[in-house]
Amino acid sequence: MQALPLSSQLINLFASVLLLLAFAMLAQRRVVSLIGLFATQGLVLSLSTAVVAWSTSQPHLYESAGLTLLLKVIVLPWLLYRLVRKLDVRWEFEGLINIPTTMLIGIVLVVFSFNLALPISQLASTVTRSTLGIAMASVMLSFLMMITRRKAIPQVIGFLAMENGLFFAATSATYGMPMVVELGIALDVLVGMLILGVFFFQIREQFDSLDLKHLEKLKEGE
């Protein structure tokens, strides 16, 4: 078996770091650390995009790498951190399912996504094809994190991490989306984050807590 070129090796490395980070986020209970993990994930994503750009010499990928760096490593974590400090919710005590069970479900999901990605990877001709499974797995893991968390902020971080996974899937499958789409998604995420920030304040003002179980009251009456 011949050795892979350096760029492919780097991309595979980043991909595996991404997957590890996704698992770490799934297991992490402290909200501030969660934000740190999210920022690291953004950094890895940005680096891997830059490597793909360098190895395939696609200049527009540099732009999206820069955009990722700016938005997901600096702006969003800073916004989240400020929110956490203002709302004073550093800890989350319990999820809906305990951590070991969550991890086991996560492993099943990873196997599922690898299995799913296998036929696609064999068809694809991009240098990043082997990472599609990982990208899908991190989307699934982020989704799982949104489901299992009870408080609002970790759910939002799960949502943002899912977007990271999608972005990685796009870079690995097709060398990135068109610039218009990418800009649109970036703007969506930013605006969504701002709106959710407003919602957090409203929710807390209403219920004195960010625990989402209070929202169950909003269900239509029996």
Binding site: F112, I120, I147, L215
Partner: protein
């Protein structure tokens, strides 16, 4: 003519929008709104004039660089659009003039905002009429529906009005979906949604019929054809009167325009049985509308049902046009089509006039119920005499305009025995009889409308303080009344204009080449003819002679005595014939049409109350079951509503996994 009509019409629509936007600057200033509505009225006249020019000109189209990328706006003006633009421009001019004096600050929407919604509404209608691809058409159509929805719910603090608005919006959207599907069928799988492309293809097999019936459903929902009529009697009373006038007079006609555009322009070939179905549906709507109008006690509901009747007549006429056209009788088709278009124009004028008159009455008395009005001819002579013109026109009496179009339509009916389908030939006399019945009952309804509101004695003491309409309102009413009279007296001129449309759609001319402006004889003077001037002369002559005779034979002594005092010394205005009483015979005769809930007082009741509510079978047969079914389905979905975000996320997660598993 150097500037093209299409460009002028486009500018006028844009100017309407600008006027509307200007209303937003100082929404509470009545002076500003008054000026803006007057300007809008001038633009309406301008559009009518340009449309007259365009009517005789050749079709003209343009592509606007607006809209989505690769999907520009296509616009086109041909004789059909020009005719409806003429209708829109002239009716809007008068209604805007009236509106300038009508809207005041109240508890509802601010006048400036109404001004914006009103002008967005009329501009959207212009765009509907000049659209040349399905995309622009739908955008304009939906803008029209939304603007009119907001206008209907002007007094949104009243729950019934919100309910009426919701019903209107709901049916408007059902209709819009049908229209959208119709365009989807019409493009025939080529993906080109311009009307030019739709014209060029012929649809195979049943697809043509599918397109026609989707159009009939969609445009029928907007026009108020049975059984999608239920929004009309709710929305019209809810809306401010100028808006009712605009909706009934103009917006319903855009639906008729759409139906004509799809049937005769976009669909290359028609089938005769479409005509039979449209004819039957139209007649049923007409009869239903007029019978319900006779039973109403709210003056605006009465007019709304009367609109259903008139739309029914229009749809029946369209059915007749299809029957004649498919049986290669272009002259008769042209006469029926001319009757249709003429009646659309007439209805726009007299129904707007009547709705505006009810608006003036409403402002003066704060009363919509016929049971509390009466004797207003003494208090509001301007409104009363002008409304008389509209009433006579609506009742179809010569020499006013309503007679001309109904006469033309009957001419067309009387010649149907020449059709090859024998059973249609047998049924057509029945249809003609139904039409005559509807027209006669319309006369009855109009007597009730006018008599109860304006004649007799005031039923409430507060009516003594009713004020006549102001200057702007009078001007608007005078314009419409004048239009009713002129359209009635110079039918040959109008028909000459309509000929441009009939030769475009059915390839023949209704006036039969007879260019005499005095005599209307579409099938030759020896068969039947009508000369409104002679009729007018006879009427005026008879009136003058009678006045002379009365003056000769009159003894000259004036004696004032209480009216209606038939030997009863104690009598109150309450003893007059009421709206319920007047409508009673009709309600008795057509009992099966209604669903009547009667509440009779017991003989020992100290405060006896009698109430009778005549409601619509369709509501119970069609709408309530659908609503109940929808509620049941919604309750099923309520079972999976758990109120917990993680459960919802799990739903989407499981769906995602399942899809990934099955698709890949």
């Amino acid at each position: 003519m150097s500037p093209a009509p299409l460009a002028l019409i486009g500018f006028a629509a844009a100017a309407w929008l600008a006027i509307g936007a200007a209303g937003l600057i100082r929404p509470r200033s009545l002076r500003a709104v008054r000026t803006l509505f007057s300007l809008g009225s001038v633009l309406g006249v301008a559009i009518a004039v340009v449309a007259c020019v365009a009517l005789a000109g050749s079709p003209e189209s343009a592509v606007l660089p607006l809209g989505l990328p690769d999907l520009p706006f296509h616009l086109r003006v041909d004789a059909l659009s020009a005719f409806f633009l003429l209708l829109l421009g002239s009716a809007t001019a008068a209604i805007s003039l009236f509106s300038a004096g009508y809207f005041r600050s109240g508890s509802g929407t601010a006048p400036g905002l109404i001004c914006f919604q009103y002008h967005a509404f009329v501009a959207a209608m212009v765009l509907v009429l000049i659209a040349d691809d399905a995309y622009v058409f739908m955008v304009a159509w939906e803008t029209m529906a939304l603007a009119s929805y907001f206008l209907v719910t002007t007094d949104h603090r009243i729950p019934e009005i919100r309910r009426a608005g919701f019903l209107y919006l709901l049916i408007a959207h059902v209709g819009a979906i049908a229209i959208l599907l119709c365009f989807g069928v019409l493009q025939g799988g080529h993906g080109d949604y311009t009307f030019a492309a739709m014209r060029s293809i012929t649809l195979p097999g049943w697809w043509g019929s599918a397109a026609f019936f989707l159009a009939l459903t969609g445009f029928g929902a907007k026009a108020g054809v049975l059984p999608l009529h239920v929004w009309l009697p709710e929305a019209h009373p809810a809306a401010p009167s100028p808006v009712s006038a605009l909706m009934s007079g103009v917006m319903l006609k855009t639906a008729i325009y759409g139906l004509l555009r799809v049937t005769f322009d976009l669909l290359g070939a028609q089938l005769w049985w479409w005509g039979a179905i449209a004819l039957a549906l139209g007649l049923v709507s007409a009869l239903f509308g007029v019978i319900f109008a006779a039973a109403q006690t709210d003056m605006k509901r009465l007019l709304a049902y009367s609109s259903i009747e008139n739309i029914g007549i229009l749809v029946a006429a369209m059915g007749l046009v299809i029957l004649f056209k498919t049986n290669a009788k272009p002259l008769l088709a042209a006469i029926a089509l001319a009757a249709l278009l003429y009646h659309a124009l007439n209805h726009a004028m007299f129904k707007s006039l009547l709705f505006l008159a009810t608006g003036s009455v409403l402002h003066a008395t704060k009363e919509r119920s016929l049971g509390k009005l009466g004797g207003l001819i003494h208090r509001m002579p301007w409104v009363a005499w002008l409304a008389l013109a509209g009433t006579l026109a609506s009742a179809g009496l010569p020499p006013l305009n309503g007679f001309v179009s109904e006469w033309l339509l009957l001419q067309a009916f009387l010649f149907t025995p020449t059709l090859p389908q024998s059973f249609i030939n047998m049924l057509v006399p029945l249809a003609a009889a139904a039409l005559v019945l509807a027209v006669a009952l319309a006369g009855y309804v109009m007597v009730k409308f006018y008599g109860v509101i304006f004649l007799g004695r005031p039923r409430e003491p507060s009516l003594a303080y009713a004020q006549d309409a102001g200057g702007f309102e009078r001007a608007g009413l005078v314009a419409l009344a004048a239009a009713c009279v002129l359209l009635g007296i110079f039918p040959a001129t109008v028909l000459a204009a309509i000929d441009h449309v009939t030769s475009l759609l059915v390839g023949s001319q209704a006036s039969g080449g007879d260019t005499s402006w005095l005599l209307l004889a579409p099938l030759g003077a020896e068969r039947s003819s009508y000369s409104p001037l002679i009729v007018l002369g006879a009427i005026v002559g008879a009136v003058l002679i009678t006045i002379q005779l009365v003056h000769r034979m009159w003894h000259g002594r004036v004696r004032r005595a209480p009216a209606w005092d038939c030997g009863f010394p104690l009598q109150t205005p309450r003893m007059q014939d009421t709206a319920e009483g007047f409508g009673q015979p009709i309600r008795q005769v057509f009992e099966p049409f209604f669903r009547i809930e009667r509440h009779l007082p017991s003989p020992f009741d100290a405060k006896p109350r009698y109430s009778v509510v005549a409601s619509d079978h369709w509501w119970h047969w069609l709408y309530l079951p659908i609503a109940r079914a929808a509620e049941a389905v919604a309750r099923l979905f309520g079972l999976i509503q758990r109120g917990r975000i993680s459960v919802y996320l799990t739903y989407s997660f499981v769906t995602l996994l399942a899809l990934l598993l099955f698709v890949l």
